[in-house]
Amino acid sequence: METILDVLAIFVLIVEVILLYQLRANRHELSAKVRSMVLFGIIVFPLLALLLGNYHVFVSSKESTTCQSCHVMSPMANDMMFDSHSQTLAARHYQNGWIAEHECYSCHADYGFQGTMKAKLDGYRHLMRYVTKTYTEPIRYRGEFNSMNCYGCHQGSRTFEAVDEHAPVVENLMGDDPSISCLNCHGRAHPEPSKRTPGSKEYKWLSDPKVKEVVNAQEVKDYINTLAASAEQSK
């Protein structure tokens, strides 16, 4: 899909350059040709470029690598992808392949550019603060994590239903004023703020994946899947 988008973008660019050049040469007479050049050169193709760009904003940003591309998210992403000893929920889900794709978005479905209007505005605010560097590390989640995001995947699974203690938790979560979070029993989702604070012992490698000598997140995932498959075969 990405390649198709790239080819389309280059096509739009080439056509646009030709159209604008022709428009500049013929702009003194308002012929049907000029009108159609205005239609395609100033309306149709620029709107197509906006459409393609918005695909990245709203669809490609579901990819975990998109979250990882912001420096400020590196500690969370690197812990999740590269720290094989990490016991955070994100790392366990990612490294065990419990989430097939869109790992960040699967848990943060109501957050960032994908969710509600408030969440979209939050996403724009985060983008603005990141680019203008008006943030301080460690970053903190504003508000409360919605545990129903966990329930969306775990609902109905045998291992989840088999734990009797989950029943009152689900009842509480579905109530008007939920007071329980999945994190209460299952631990942190991401490294604690002290590890994500610049200057701390863990911060250096959490913010720089090259320290772990891993080039590509997909390689790690494939390697973990290989290990899981060989473990299944040996049983």
Binding site: D6, L23, V38, L50, Y124, L127, M128, V131
Partner: protein, 62 residues
């Protein structure tokens, strides 16, 4: 319809940001795309449509 110089400039600015963003997406280009390129192209389209509307009303077509 007047010359479309301003609209063309706005489209050039918008595309100069949009195309690199589509091919090499990153947070900085995303910021420029969201807050600069989209408004530029939006304004260019609106200006052209406004000119078309004025043209049509002046000729009593609308």
């Amino acid at each position: 319809m007047r010359k479309v110089f301003i609209e063309s400039m706005l489209v050039i600015v918008g595309l100069a940001i949009s195309i690199p963003y589509i091919i090499f997406p990153n947070p900085y280009l995303m910021f420029l795309f969201v807050f600069v390129a989209q408004p530029c192209i939006g304004v260019a389209v609106a200006l052209v449509l406004w000119e078309v509307y004025k043209d049509l009303t002046s000729k009593d077509i609308l």
